[in-house]
């Protein structure tokens, strides 16, 4: 009996140990799932899902030693290894993030698809690696990212600084290994979300990912963005605290959804919301492979009451700390699927919403399909001046005139600190304009540049050419001053998980990215239905010159008698008809006399 008891105890402890081992991935791999929810001042609900996978495997390893994957998605790992990726940031977005109403998101993304990739310095041909990477990502996420070839991408000089750790061999900061491309017309739909969910350790079976049902999101969301961010992180630093000795890799998969509860409630002033009605299901038990599984709800400015109440409240940030309600999903869902409801005591009052400190908008000016201009407006309402980097990627079919670039702050011309300009080339590369500007406190700066719309070859137009062509969003990169910092949620560089940020690790050097609107431009179109006619007519004009010149250079002017006259083709036909006529007339005459005699008779009568 003793023996069996001991055996039993040993068995239990071993299974327990194994279980713990499996749960934590032995600290080599760590998976966290988090959901951050916030009601914006305009009454919308912003939900940010974030799934972070950290792995101590060296990102630089490009051999087969990466074969063993536990939590980290193998398909991503293979792509990273194949193309020598150092950092990758990908977003697929439907809808436009309204900065002036919703504040700054955790993950800014432009409408459409965007890929930012930095390759390791051991990569021999960056352009080739970029083409390979975008094609692989296109396959991975079922989107047309493969169109981001050399003709659609640029190498930014001031925007998109390194996100992850740098320093060790081939994890450099050299800009020649950076590529950025944008596809403004790309749609985000179920076929992109499904493969994206399959990259998660629990797929869409367990955990917070269960909430991501495409049908509900597509139906109710006003903004829907999907992200995939990969960067090297440091696991241990050298003795002098200098470089990183063992870099690992961190993959952040995120989904941002903005839902207008009014649409769900079908009542204009009712902004109450609950998880179940927004996502079709309540909060389900956590993914067993997750190290932590947490829901944060920002309750700083809100008047609503959460039901059931959270496990605890958390205050984060200095100065005006933000109050977060924290739900630990593992404890919260002990009794099965549970809903979270937010109820407002009073109905919502719509009013002017306080805009965040830096706003960035862009529009196209001019009429007609010949030429126009792009005007970008940057509004800085901080009490101190800020430095911004403005990046514009303009497709080659809009010909940009740099000498028309005008930058004015409140009507006074300003000189940029730095200007990067690479002119585009037809069918080869886009126009790349990057400006570093110093913006005065409480000022509005406008940037204006003129362009011409080119007429393309008839096969180069997209389907529905008269709809127009899109120009991707411009990017504004800046560091917020102290008084504006509270407005933005910037994840820490060393660990991107929200828990890491909220539990006291505020980013030391928060860099903010703001995207502008996409532009729709109507370029002149040819008539697609008549290539043959155009070719024939233009050739006729060429022949108009050729015919007479050929005649007069090869022939002599002579007098001929009419019967020797050389007739043109038409003349020959007429002559033929005329020569046939007499015989016809003769034949007719034989029949005619009888008729005429009849007529004569009739006339006489």
């Amino acid at each position: 009996k003793m023996m069996s008891l001991i055996l039993c105890a040993v068995y239990l402890s071993v299974t327990c140990l194994l279980h713990v081992q499996a749960q934590n991935g032995g600290d080599h791999e760590k998976f966290t799932e988090e959901l951050f929810m916030k009601e914006t001042p305009s009454g919308h609900v912003y939900s940010h899902f974030q799934f972070t996978t950290r792995w101590d495997s060296d990102i630089r390893r490009r051999d087969n030693s990466r074969e063993h994957y536990n939590l980290f998605p193998r398909s991503v790992g293979d792509i990273v290894a194949a193309y020598g990726v150092q950092e990758l940031s990908l977003s697929l977005t439907q809808g436009l993030w309204r900065y002036e109403k919703w504040g700054y998101p955790i993950n800014s993304a432009p409408p459409g698809a965007q890929v930012i990739a930095r390759f390791q310095s051991s990569v021999p041909d960056v352009d080739k690696a970029w083409e390979g990477l975008t094609s692989a990502l296109a396959g991975l996420l079922c989107s047309s990212l493969n169109n981001l070839g050399r003709t659609e991408s640029i190498q930014p000089e001031y925007s998109f600084a390194n996100q992850g750790v740098t320093g060790p061999d081939s994890l450099g900061t050299n800009r020649t290994y950076l590529r950025y491309g944008i596809l403004p017309r790309e749609n985000l739909c179920t076929e992109n979300l499904t493969p994206w969910k399959k990259l998660l350790p629990c797929k869409n079976k367990r955990g917070l990912a269960v909430l991501l049902s495409s049908g509900h999101i597509q139906k109710y969301s006003v903004y829907f963005s999907l992200g995939l961010d990969l960067k090297p992180v440091c696991y241990s630093t050298g003795e002098e605290g200098g470089g990183c000795t063992s870099p690992g890799v961190e993959l952040v998969q995120s989904v941002s959804v903005v839902i207008d509860p009014v649409i769900i409630n079908k009542q204009a002033d009712n902004t109450d919301w609950n998880v179940k009605r927004m996502f079709g299901i309540g909060v389900t038990p956590a993914c067993p492979l997750a190290h932590t599984s947490t829901i944060f709800i920002d309750t700083t400015d809100s008047t609503y009451v959460l039901d059931p109440p959270p496990n605890e409240y958390l205050y984060y940030g200095a100065g005006m700390p933000r109050k977060l309600a924290v739900y630990d999903v593992k404890i919260f869902t002990e009794h099965g699927i549970t809903d979270i409801t937010a109820k407002h005591p009073k109905s919502h009052i719509y009013g002017i919403v306080r805009a965040p400190p830096v706003l960035f908008n862009r529009h196209v000016v001019g009429t007609g399909q010949e030429r126009g201009g792009i005007v970008a407006t940057i509004k800085n309402s901080c009490t101190t001046g800020i430095t911004v980097a403005y990046l514009e990627l303009i497709p080659w079919y809009l010909r940009v005139y740099l000498h028309t670039l005008k930058i004015e702050t409140d009507g006074v011309p300003v000189k940029p600190i730095n200007t990067v300009y690479r002119p585009g080339r037809d069918r080869e590369r886009p126009y790349h304009l990057e400006l570093v500007l110093k913006l005065a406190a409480r000022s509005t700066t406008t940037i204006r540049i003129d362009m011409e719309y080119s007429i393309l070859r008839w096969t180069e137009y997209p389907p529905d050419a008269n709809h127009g062509l899109y120009v991707g969003a411009a990017v504004l990169t800046t560091r917020l001053p102290v008084d504006g910092k509270a407005n933005a949620t910037v994840l820490a560089a060393e660990d991107s998980s929200l828990s890491h940020l909220f539990w006291g690790n505020v980013a030391t050097d928060p860099v903010l990215k703001i995207y502008s609107e996409t532009l729709l431009i109507t370029v002149p179109t040819p008539d697609f239905s008549m290539p043959y006619n155009v070719i024939c007519l233009a050739c006729t004009i060429a022949a108009l010159a050729f015919g007479p010149i050929h005649n007069m250079t090869t022939k002599k002017l002579v007098l001929v008698s009419p019967d020797q006259e050389e007739k043109s083709l038409l003349g020959k036909i007429i002559a033929c008809v005329l020569s046939c006529l007499p015989t016809l007339a003769a034949r007719k005459k034989k029949q005619e006399p009888e008729q005429t005699s009849d007529e004569d008779k009739g006339n006489e009568e």
Partner: protein
């Protein structure tokens, strides 16, 4: 006195038209190869230390680029004056060429006077031609609306016309040195004027042949001069652009391969917009050769009248170049007064003139309808381009045919045409 007034009037027209800045942006006047806006952009990029040939906007030659960079520093906002002065100088050169051309024609006439049919005396030039021709040319040049608009829009065609005028003057003065230089510069700028070397070579060979020099040596000398000038210009450009040949692709490559399909008054843009991809290079070759092809047969047929050859070549260039503009056509029209003796033999004077006027007026209207009002489409504008091109082609072919007919009547007199054979009237025909 009258002449001075004319020049003042021409300058005044050009100056007042330049107030309309939209002229610089009209597709009929400014093409990718000559637009003022693109030139400024190139100068701006050059000043910033970027190569203007890296992009697709700038297509001027490196010498022009340097010239304008210097010019902008000196003149700042008064560059218009340079264009007006240059245009007036061009007019002076052309009317001077008119004087020498008239002398040349009278001299030629004297030589053939014995062969002229007694009935055709009225067809001969009057000796007053030498006084009348320069005046007519000045009027045609200074008051030509095409040239006024062209100058007001500050296109680089103004420069090109200047060199063409110089070449014309050199031809009438039998000046090999200047003629080859002017043609080389013009060809260096816009490539197509290289075909003008045919009339110059023929003329010089004829003149020197009469003085007892062998034709071959004369031809070889002209060729050597031209090649020398061209290589000098290209070498200088190579030096100016910092030892790089990229400008060749941006200038001549651009003219030959027609990569930009911005609408203009020619037949290339829509043709290559609607072209099937696998036929593109074939038709590019055909269209570019189309122009070159005419040189040899016309040179053989009209070698006795190099001025006519020169004029018709300018006309053919202005129709068949890949990016034609009003300025090219304007210069061709202002050369027409050289041939008053051919006017009676024109067949379709009224209809072609009407067509030219109508299309010139209709082009901006249909452009507006297509681009701004969206109530027309590209076909409308292209139809106008086609008619405009055919009007110009009719002028050229009429001009050449008139010369053939005049030759016939000079030789045979009028009465042959009334002679009867077997009771039928004879017919005059090319056979």
């Amino acid at each position: 006195m009258g002449n001075v007034l004319l020049y003042v009037l021409g300058a005044a027209f050009r100056y007042s038209a330049s107030g309309y800045e939209f002229l610089q942006l009209r597709p009929e006047i400014s093409t990718p190869t000559n637009s003022w806006k693109r030139l400024i952009e190139g100068v701006h990029l050059n000043k910033m230390g970027l190569s203007p040939y890296d992009g697709v906007l700038f297509h001027e030659t490196p010498i022009m680029l340097q010239l304008y960079t210097v010019m902008e520093n000196i003149l700042v906002h008064r560059s218009l004056l340079v264009f007006i002065v240059l245009d007036l100088l061009t007019c002076l050169l052309v009317s001077e060429a008119g004087y020498y051309g008239a002398a040349l024609m009278l001299q030629q006439q004297k030589r053939i006077k014995g062969d002229v049919h007694p009935e055709s005396g009225s067809l001969l030039h009057s000796s007053n031609l030498i006084n009348v021709l320069p005046k007519h040319i000045a009027i045609f040049y200074l008051l030509n609306p095409f040239l006024i608009l062209n100058c007001a829009a500050r296109t680089t065609v103004v420069w090109n016309n200047f060199f063409l005028a110089a070449a014309l003057l050199a031809l009438t003065q039998n000046n090999r040195f200047l003629g080859t230089l002017a043609i080389s510069i013009a060809a260096y700028e816009t490539m197509y004027p290289i075909i003008l070397i045919f009339p110059l070579t023929i003329h010089l060979a004829t003149i020197e042949g009469q003085q007892g020099r062998s034709v071959t040596s004369s031809v070889v000398e002209t060729m050597v001069y031209t090649l020398l000038w061209l290589s000098c210009l290209l070498g200088l450009s190579h030096q100016l652009s910092g030892g790089s040949w990229t400008f060749l692709q941006a200038t001549y490559g651009f003219i030959v391969t027609v990569p930009e399909l911005t609408p203009n008054m020619g037949i290339y843009w829509y043709f290559f917009t609607e072209m099937f991809e696998h036929f593109r290079s074939f038709f590019l070759g055909t269209f570019q050769l189309n122009l070159l092809m005419y040189c040899i047969p016309l040179s053989i047929r009209f070698w006795r009248s190099p001025l006519l050859l020169f004029g018709s070549f300018i006309g053919l260039i202005s129709v068949f170049k890949s990016y034609p503009s009003l300025g090219d056509v304007g210069f061709f029209l202002s050369v027409l007064p050289f041939f008053p003796h051919l006017l009676p033999f024109f067949k379709q004077t009224i209809s072609t003139a009407g067509l030219l006027v109508a299309t010139t007026i209709l082009a901006p209207v249909l452009w507006q309808l297509w681009i701004y009002n969206n109530s027309a489409n590209a076909n409308y504008y292209f139809a106008i381009n086609l008619l405009y091109s055919s009007a110009l082609i009719f002028i050229i072919t009429d001009l050449l045919l008139a010369q053939v007919r005049r030759q016939f009547y000079l030789q045979h007199g009028y009465s042959v045409i009334d002679s009867m054979v077997n009771g039928n009237k004879m017919i005059l025909q090319l056979k």
